[in-house]
């Protein structure tokens, strides 16, 4: 998912305006920080599924549950928004063929329906995916205009 990590939290914000938008978006994108090893690698691996990206604790539900507690002390709405944002990232990502470590730390196995492609170029050149992303984009724009 590319734009969906922004559009889906925005759509959620449309349904639940009491959420804190910035925290929702921060939670929904902080997981992508583990993409650095992928970006600075010199060679594209033959099997993109063997990459570090999306295989760290940042791409687990556990990470957001753990962070929820200290942030909750500071501000419950911010904590809830951040956790929901993080969950949307991990759950949207688990739709790709790699899956995600949904049960971490109980299991390091990758779970998910695995219905979308993982490789970047295959993803952006797939017109069905474009249709999905553009539909979410239109819905998010409507939300931004209404709110």
């Amino acid at each position: 998912m590319i734009l969906a990590h922004i559009t889906v939290p925005l759509i959620l914000y449309g349904f639940f305006p009491q959420l804190h938008l910035l925290s929702l978006l921060l939670g929904a994108n902080i997981s992508s920080l583990d993409a650095l090893p992928t970006l600075i690698r010199k060679k594209t691996p033959k099997n993109p599924l063997a990459e570090t990206h999306a295989a760290t604790v940042l791409h687990t539900l556990f990470f957001f549950i753990v962070l929820f507690i200290p942030i909750y002390v500071f501000n419950p709405i911010v904590a809830l928004s951040f956790m929901i944002g993080g969950f949307t990232h991990v759950l949207l990502d688990c739709l790709d063929e790699k899956g995600r470590m949904l049960l971490y730390p109980l299991s390091k196995k990758f779970y998910g329906p695995k219905i979308l492609t993982y490789d970047f170029w295959t993803y952006v050149t797939d017109k069905k995916i474009f249709l999905l992303e553009s539909s979410l984009f239109v819905a998010a724009c409507i939300v931004l205009f209404i709110r």
Binding site: L3, I6, T7, L21, L22, L25, L26, N29, I30, S32, L33, A35, L36, L39, I40, T44, P48, E97, T117, Y118, D119, W121, T122, V124, T125, K127, F130, E133, S134, F137, A140, C141, L144, R147
Partner: protein, 64 residues
């Protein structure tokens, strides 16, 4: 599930499609800036180095 694509050839035949992807990204960014104002910096700040590296990598991959 992955498919081999000749990106240069594909890009020439799908310039409108590529423009639509870029257009969606830029529109979303502008709408977010209007909504979040200066707070947008908190959101995009950590990703600026990533963006620069990504653009360089995409350019390198398209040149190959």
């Amino acid at each position: 599930m992955s498919v081999k694509v000749d990106l240069k050839k594909w890009g020439r035949g799908n310039s409108l499609y590529i423009a639509a992807w870029i257009g969606m990204g830029i529109t979303l960014f502008i709408l977010l800036v209007l909504k979040l104002r200066l707070d947008i910096l908190i959101l995009i700040g950590p990703f600026i180095p990533y963006l620069i590296i990504s653009l360089v990598r995409i350019r390198q991959e398209l040149k190959r």
